[in-house]
């Protein structure tokens, strides 16, 4: 057997006559007459931005894969990608500046029979954010997120009993302190035999095999993680402190501002009202149980605010961070 390319694609040219090596393969991948590479890459970006590629079988552009919904668009994206000098940033910019991308994602009744799976993209799709970003969002809204860039991986808190699962208990996880503790999820050290449950709960691939598409599950373990895991509880505490230290003339205004920070839009009256109810429920409880209040606040004590009041807002903050809309790109 000699090295060669796929017969359906233009042949690989060797730098040396009669010999083909990996550099020849690399050059062929990005050569001007190879249409496959840029289309596949553009399709992957499309998937990230729309929830499905133009070719839905992202890992298979062959005869057993699906046909593209918009073939000319895919071809154009492919040529454009090369024309932009293979810049991911410019490619993403091109896509998100399009009218197609900027459509609303509400389901449209009239499309139900015509295009039930939204292949033709007459609307956008609602996408739950990826695993790493779930925590990033909570840290961002609470003001804890570290913006440090690059460098070695870090170790956010890992629940007990996880590290010990790996290699007969010989794997040690030392939680990072300070800024590194709050770096973006993409910097979390990934141990395949003891992956971080906060990531795997939200469909982070286990890294044992290449994953081109992530699943998007919706499970009670996710609910429990976001409500009770220490990372998210801490974010709730810090978020409550942030909310209380804002200028606000009323509870209503404060609630609206908190929700606006989470969901990126003005909440409607009936939404804010439910949170104000929750706030009142919390206040009633914590005025009668100040010790519990102190426990719930943790080390995030807002200035000049009594513990019961602060605790009621932690309950509100925690609930806001658990809204479906908060972890969804609409």
């Amino acid at each position: 057997m000699k090295p060669a390319g796929l017969a359906v694609l233009p042949p690989i040219k060797g730098r040396v006559e009669g010999k083909l090596d990996r550099l020849d393969l690399a050059k062929w991948l990005v050569s001007a007459d190879n249409p496959l590479t840029p289309r596949v890459l553009a399709n992957q970006l499309w998937d990230k931005l729309f929830g499905a590629g133009l070719v839905r079988t992202m890992e298979d552009f062959g005869v057993r894969g699906e046909r593209p919904a918009h073939p000319e668009l895919l071809d154009w994206l492919g040529t454009e990608y090369r024309r932009l000098g293979w810049s991911r940033k410019k490619m993403i910019e091109t896509i998100v500046m399009s009218a197609t991308y900027q459509q609303a994602s509400a389901h449209r009744e009239e499309l139900r029979d015509i295009d039930p799976t939204n292949k033709l993209l007459a609307r956008q799709n609602r996408l739950r954010v990826e695993a790493e970003i779930v925590r990033d969002l909570c840290l961002s809204v609470s003001g804890l997120l570290s913006d440090s860039f690059g460098g070695p991986s870090v170790s956010p808190p890992l629940p007990p009993g996880i590290a010990v699962l790996s290699y007969d208990g010989n794997f040690n996880w030392t939680p990072s302190e300070g800024g590194p503790r709050y770096r973006r999820g993409l910097y979390t050290f990934f141990k395949r035999t003891a992956p971080h449950p906060n990531l795997t709960a939200f469909d982070c691939p286990d890294s044992n095999t290449t994953s081109v598409r992530r699943g998007v599950s919706n499970t009670p373990l996710q609910a429990l993680t976001m409500m009770n895991n220490e990372v998210f509880v801490e974010a709730s505490q810090a978020f409550a402190k942030r909310i209380l230290e804002m200028e606000a003339a009323s509870d209503g205004q404060r609630v609206r501002e908190a929700l606006r920070l989470c969901i990126g839009r003005e909440p409607v009256e009936s939404e804010s009202a439910r949170f104000i109810d929750l706030l009142e429920t919390g206040r009633t409880y914590y005025r009668a149980n100040p010790d519990s209040a102190q426990k719930l606040i943790g080390k995030y004590q807002p200035k000049d605010i009594a513990a019961p009041e602060a605790a009621a807002w932690v309950a509100v903050a925690r609930t806001a961070l658990n809204l479906d809309e908060f972890i969804t790109r609409e």
Partner: protein, 349 residues
């Protein structure tokens, strides 16, 4: 290859979101199995949220309803426990013949290796005459109730690949584990607990989490790790200082506000999320009850050896994190309780 978002499912579900919520007590929905569930009449009648863990009838009705897998990695060799090898005993102390070592890859065996036969005594037991070594006197008394499969063999010579072979059928990553297949194929009767539970004993295994992954099946079929100490399930317990009534009030708020968004966006994933939070709430009540053995009879506790003093353990087995016989006994009783409550498959690692 991971499953993708199932837009076919979303399309069907978008139709009848109100009944979705009213009837979906336990639906987890929104996961790419709808096309396989093939629920007829989905378009017409009030919709039951497709629950990917819902039980479905198998092709052949069997008697077994649940499975508890005691995967005792690191146990003594079957040559000392189950499988008498008279020829091996005969050749004890001799060098391996060249026919066996030529062109064969071994991890640790050197060319100068000699054959090691077991010095355990094997006897036949029960009416069926099943053979056990004298190291298993109690198990031997169950000979007539057991099915011994002696044809299982492995070509792996190291821990992790061997574990993957046993859990996935091939010594390779990316495949579903046994519990995932059962969950996928048969669903699970329990409404409050996952269908595939993993209990970890002692120092764990080399394979760790790769031994209960769902591989290319949807992640809803991955094993859920339960613990016999502390929180039964990770993140089960509300933060300190948050009482149950405030948890319920928070969930009510979530449900109502999520529902309002559902009315606007009509995305069935929102309904799934509402259902997931309700199931999480039910797990919060159901799971602690699991680990509470106070209702079990003294006879049961003794039979499982819950309070039996630990035998002395040496070497790597020594307690790194509770590697005790009591810990294992607790896991066995927990497994039984899980199965009694409708969990389809429990793996005790």
């Amino acid at each position: 290859m991971k499953h993708r978002r199932d837009f076919d499912f979303q399309a069907k579900m978008a139709l009848n979101r109100r009944s979705f919520l009213n009837t979906a007590a336990s639906g987890l929905g929104g996961i790419a199995l709808a096309s396989l569930l093939k629920q007829d009449g989905l378009l017409a009648a009030p919709v039951q949220a497709p629950n990917p863990l819902a039980t479905r009838p198998p092709h052949f009705l069997g008697k077994a309803k649940n499975c508890i897998f005691l995967f005792m990695e690191g146990a003594p060799s079957q040559l000392d426990l189950f499988t008498p090898k008279p020829k091996l005993k005969e050749l004890h102390g001799q060098r391996l013949p060249e026919s066996m070592t030529k062109n064969v890859r071994f991890a640790f065996i050197k060319e100068t290796a000699t054959i090691l036969g077991s010095n355990q005594t094997f006897r036949k037991h029960g009416q069926c005459g099943m053979e056990f070594s004298d190291l298993l006197p109690n198990l031997a008394t169950c000979a007539d109730d057991l099915l011994m499969i002696r044809s299982l063999h492995s070509e792996q010579f190291n821990h992790h690949p061997g574990q993957l072979l046993m859990q996935c059928g091939r010594a390779a990553f990316g495949l579903p584990t046994i519990g995932s297949w059962l969950s996928y194929g048969l669903g699970s009767p329990s409404q409050d607990l996952p269908g595939y539970v993993v209990l970890n004993s002692g120092v764990g295994s080399s394979g760790g989490a790769s031994l209960w992954q769902s591989g290319f099946l949807p992640t809803t079929h991955a094993g859920v790790l339960f613990r016999d100490q502390g929180e039964p399930v990770l993140n089960l317990v509300n933060p300190e200082g948050l009482p149950p009534e405030l948890q319920r009030a928070s969930l009510d708020t979530l449900r109502d506000v999520n529902q309002q968004r559902l009315d606007v966006m009509r995305d069935p994933e929102i309904a799934s999320r509402i259902a997931s939070y309700e199931l999480a709430y039910r797990m919060q009540s159901a799971a602690p009850e699991l680990a509470d053995f106070s209702g079990e009879s003294k006879a049961t506790l003794e039979a499982y050896g819950i309070d039996r003093p630990d035998p002395p353990v040496g070497g790597r087995g020594k307690a790194k994190s509770g590697n005790t016989a009591q810990g294992y006994a607790r896991n066995c009783l927990l497994a039984r309780r899980l199965v009694e409550r409708g969990v389809r498959f429990v793996n005790i690692l």
